[in-house]
Amino acid sequence: MSFIETRSLTKIYGTGETAVHALRRVNVSIEKGEFVAVTGASGSGKSTLLHMLGGIDRPTRGKVCIDGIELFASSDSTLAAMRRQMIGFVFQSYNLIPVLTVQENICLPLKMDQQKPDRNYYNELIELLGLGGKQTRLPGQLSGGQQQRVAIARALIARPAIVLADEPTGNLDSENSAEVLRLLKESVEHFEQTLVLITHDNSVAEQADRIIVMRDGQVAEDNNL
């Protein structure tokens, strides 16, 4: 069994004639430690697939299994615990908590688990992501690239097994985009994590181990590079 597996994953919005099939019986398998890029046109179902993998959206039909555990058969508290401990999510629009500082945003998943961060690991992340000297700042005091780095750090602080990134460079300029991508790759390699990343950028996609192309809610191509 693969580390991440979806079986006949389906998501339908609305009903009847106005129903929108965002995902149609999608079957995907991802191994541990893989770097997978998901591409496709707008509305192809990329983000929907990612949200299902992260447990933040429920499928209409089908299953998502992570490390043998069926995600949506679990209770809400188990699902929340998995999101805290096993999954790190990086959103396109950073989505930091505006009233918390950089440090507090980064440590948020651990604080929810009532755990203290490993000081060394935390410092390592800060250094890796170039956030030294900005830990007491609020998100509103940071640039877009800096905010995205904080979001990445937040996604990594709990050493999750899986990192899901939804167009992490979508709102960044090319310089910041390259930098963020490099950091993501470095950290998942460093910490042996599985990375699933959505991108419109072919140059980004080509850096992945595997590219899944979505079209009309289905996997159109699955290239193992």
Partner: protein, 873 residues
């Protein structure tokens, strides 16, 4: 409609929830202000009806006999009376009295009126039987006093009465030093026909035998001129001018109908200060709460429309136009609230006032629902002004929104509500749980919203603690007037008809038809002094005496009759019958009734009731026991001292149920022997004429017996002649009902304040959570569990409640304490422990806050995570 008005109207319709909450809050405020005005009007009308119902609708009476020059006829006064400032005037002669019988003080003051004066009197509206008199040989008399006519109901009968003028009465001294008119010089017999009976405004069984009235259409001279002015200008000044025009000083002859004049706004500041002050105070309280709520609501509304205002500024809207936008929204809310608020006030007061009027509380006799226009106008204008003042802040906030802020959102590090992140803050943050940290930071970010909401809660809680505490103190105070364990009903001698032992026997026989009566006891109190040896005086008694009486009145004084080594104590000698003796709580060793009779010994009650306003304390003054000998003394008719040495055959452990309250200890004797204790040589019928028959009934039968005995007492002839019915049960019921009415109004008012406050909390929490939907969804996306999230959100609701309720409770209690300390100079009022009220208040506030948050919390926690994030992107 201009563009800003139509835009405001569009949003007014779109923001349904916010609009509904704001409209309801304003509607409640309008209803409450108008209700206060309607209630005040109804109460004022009730007081006016009471004054005019008792004394008539005249404004002034001029005493024609007080000045030597005033002996003229109506013709002499006609010039003054012809003034257009006088609406009506009439003459009366009130100096005649009619003797009903030979019994002392049994007479009527016969008042004669001409037709105009009679019209100003209250009799016509108070006729209970018969009709008004049509000439000077026909009289009407007060209803209850008909019972004192020696030959039964006088209605319709023609009677010859001795008629005399007051100036011709003779005054004599009685044995007790009182003055009493017992005969008249030059009294003439005159025939009168009693054509009707009338009732005083406050229907009462107390006789008013001093008044009869007749109409003398030809009355041309008299001693009093009654005047009613036209309702224009200052009455005092008008009367002074009129009298001056007739060459008279108003101070010597003029008597205003003071209470009535004050109530109609003349002759003093009562209307202004009492009614106006009460209206103003309550209106200010209501509108203060409303102002905070409305202000908060419009601030939230502006925050929600930040982007809209940013766009308007981008499109070069001026500040004036932005002001207009917010103003129109406020105006629509106010306009929409007016009619329902007015209707709600009308309906609520219609029900409440009419219900209160049916409760049978004597203080509310004649209460009728009044609907003048001024409460509605006052409510409309006061709430409009409050609304305008409330939206000033929102207008300024709307104008301050820049396009950049509108599109980028409200960064928490900028502006007044900046979140401060110092090293200390960081250090503290590390020690806090995520729930505490997020709550604190969000409070900092939305500090003004938090402050306004907490202020509204604080003010509401302050009002609740203050008024609920005051109502509790007042009801406790009034509750002390409730008599428990004493006599339930009393037939007391009116002192105007001579009584004997047979009178009470006849009364007993009459009342024997009521099987619900448990026991009856005749009470003929006789005052004595008891010699108390020093060694029998209880030490604690003196301390209680000092507490209730001024220091310079020593207890047990009057050494003139005291034996050496004793003190004198005032007591009353009362009779007890065999039936009630068996029911008394007697000390051990007390003998039986037959032994008392045989030995001539007595029962001693050493319990004294001290009463000062509503505070009562019972304490023993002496330590006599069964077998002791006591010495009592009384001054006789001829000024000698009668001393009796009596053996104590029984000692009471408690005051007997039939004991009158204003007493200082008792000696009870078998009723068969009571005559011997009356002053030697005195007329024992005087003893019975000042007595009473006390009745006890089982508790479950009190209401039915109240009704039956009241009805029986109305036809006060035969056995009941000369007896007046009083009911402790009715008095207690009146106190209970009065307390209920006070509590109804106070707690009704507070519940409405609480509703307004609750709506405000709901509004704030909903807006707060709605503005943080994305943040909350993110927390869930990152892994915050459902339970953790719900606990976090409810903890924020609790914070609103606690931060508002705690200072509100403290300030409310301090205010109440201060007022009670001031009131203690006038009333013995006590502040009960605040723990209960404060606990209830905080619990209710917490409940309201959690209920206010329940719906938005449920909605937000159940929504799909990604939908919430996307909706806010």
């Amino acid at each position: 409609m201009n563009s800003m008005a139509s835009l405001a109207f569009r949003y007014f319709k779109v923001q349904k929830r916010r609009t509904a909450i704001t409209v309801i809050s304003m509607l409640l405020a309008i209803a409450m202000v108008a209700s206060v005005g309607l209630l005040i009007s109804s109460l004022r009308n009730m007081l006016i009806a009471s004054k005019t119902g008792n004394n008539g609708v005249w404004h002034y009476r001029i005493s024609l006999s007080d000045a030597s020059s005033l002996t003229g006829t109506r013709a002499d006064w006609q010039t003054m009376l012809d003034s257009d400032k006088i609406a009506s005037s009439g003459l009366s002669d009130e100096q005649t009295y009619l003797r009903v019988s030979d019994t002392t003080n049994n007479y009527y003051n016969l008042k004669q009126f001409d037709a105009a004066a009679m019209a100003l009197m209250p009799y016509a509206g108070r006729i209970t039987a018969g009709r008004m008199p049509e000439n000077e040989r026909e009289i009407i008399i007060s209803n209850a006093s008909a019972a004192f006519w020696p030959d039964g109901d006088p209605l319709g009968k023609t009677i010859t009465l001795m008629t005399s003028r007051f100036s011709e009465m003779e005054i004599v001294q009685t044995v007790k030093g009182e003055e009493a008119s017992i005969s008249a010089i030059n009294a003439q017999p005159q025939e009168y026909t009693v054509v009707g009976t009338f009732e005083r405004f406050r229907a009462s069984n107390a006789p008013n035998i001093s008044e009869a009235a007749t109409l003398n259409p030809e009355l041309s001279t008299g001693v009093t001129l009654y005047v009613q002015l036209n309702n224009r200008g200052n009455f005092d000044r008008t009367m002074a001018q009129l009298l001056a025009s007739a060459g008279l000083e108003s101070e010597t002859v003029l008597e205003p109908h003071s209470g009535y004049l004050r109530l109609i706004g003349q002759g003093g500041d009562m209307v202004k200060y009492l009614f106006g002050g009460a209206f103003l105070l309550l209106t200010v309280i209501i509108l203060s709460v409303m102002m905070i709520v409305i202000k908060n609501s419009y601030m939230l509304s502006v925050v929600e429309k930040t982007e809209v205002f940013g766009i308007l500024r981008c499109l070069c809207a001026t500040k004036k136009q932005i002001y207009a936008f917010v103003f129109w929204e406020g105006l629509f809310t106010w306009a929409l609230s007016l009619l329902p608020g007015g209707l709600a006030a009308f309906a609520a007061m219609y029900v409440i006032v009419n219900q209160a009027a049916t409760l049978g509380i004597s203080a509310l006799d004649g209460l009728r629902f009044a609907v003048p226009a001024w409460p509605f106008l006052a409510a409309a204008s006061a709430t409009l002004l409050t609304m305008l003042l409330s939206i000033i802040g929102a207008c300024k906030k709307a104008c301050a929104i820049t396009p950049v802020e509108a599109f980028r959102g409200n960064d928490p590090y900028q502006g007044k509500n900046a979140v401060s992140i110092t090293k200390m803050e960081m250090k503290r943050g590390r020690r806090m749980s995520i729930r505490q940290l997020l709550s604190k930071r969000n409070r900092q970010k939305n500090a003004s919203r938090f402050r306004i909401t907490v202020s509204a809660i604080g003010v509401s809680v302050l009002l609740f603690v203050f008024f609920a505490g005051a109502a509790t103190a007042v009801t406790d105070f009034m509750g002390r007037y409730i008599n428990k364990g004493g006599m339930d009903f009393v037939f007391a001698s009116s002192h105007h008809v001579e009584k004997s032992a047979d009178s009470y026997a006849a009364l007993r026989a009459d009342l024997a038809q009521y099987t619900e009566i448990l026991t009856m006891q005749e009470v003929y109190p006789i005052e004595y002094m008891l010699n108390v040896p020093e060694d029998k005086v209880r030490a604690e008694y003196e301390a209680v005496w000092q507490q209730f009486y001024p220091v310079d009145i020593p207890f047990m004084s009057l050494p003139a009759f005291a034996e050496l080594g004793t003190r004198l104590k005032s007591i009353e000698v009362l009779p007890v019958n065999r039936e009630n003796y068996a029911l008394l709580d007697l000390a051990e060793g007390s003998v039986d009734y037959d032994s008392l009779l045989a030995s001539g010994s007595v029962i001693l009650c050493q319990s004294e009731v001290f009463r000062d306003n509503a505070i009562m304390q019972v304490t023993d003054f002496g330590s006599f026991v069964v077998g002791d000998t006591i010495s009592i003394a009384q001054e006789t008719v001829d000024g000698m001292q009668q001393i009796r040495n009596l053996s104590v055959g029984a000692v009471l452990n408690a005051t007997p149920w039939f004991a009158p309250e204003r007493t200082h200890g008792f000696v009870l004797v078998p009723i068969e022997t009571i005559d011997s204790y009356y002053e030697q040589g005195g007329n024992t019928n005087n003893l019975y004429t000042t007595g009473m028959l006390c009745i006890q009934v089982a508790e479950e039968n009190l209401p039915v017996m109240q009704e039956r005995l009241s009805e029986r007492a109305k036809s006060a002839f035969g056995a009941l002649t000369g007896f007046v019915f009083n009911s402790s049960f009715a008095n207690n019921q009146e106190i209970v009902k009065t307390v209920d009415v006070i509590n109804l109004f106070v707690y009704g008012f507070l519940v409405l304040i609480a509703i307004i406050c609750g709506l405000n909390i709901f509004n704030t929490i909903w807006a707060d959570l709605s503005s943080r939907r994305k943040e909350i969804a993110l927390l869930r996306a990152i892994g915050m569990g459902q339970r953790q999230l719900i606990s976090y959100l409810y903890s924020e609701c609790v914070q609103y409640a606690v931060f508002g309720a705690v200072p509100g409770c403290i300030l409310g209690f301090l205010g109440l304490y201060g007022v009670v300390q001031v009131m203690k100079s006038y009333l013995f009022i006590e502040l009960s422990s605040p723990v209960q009220i404060i606990s209830v208040t905080i619990a209710v506030t917490l409940l309201i806050a959690c209920l206010a948050g329940a719906t938005p919390i449920r909605r937000i926690t159940k929504a799909a995570i990604i939908d919430e994030i996307r909706a806010c992107d």
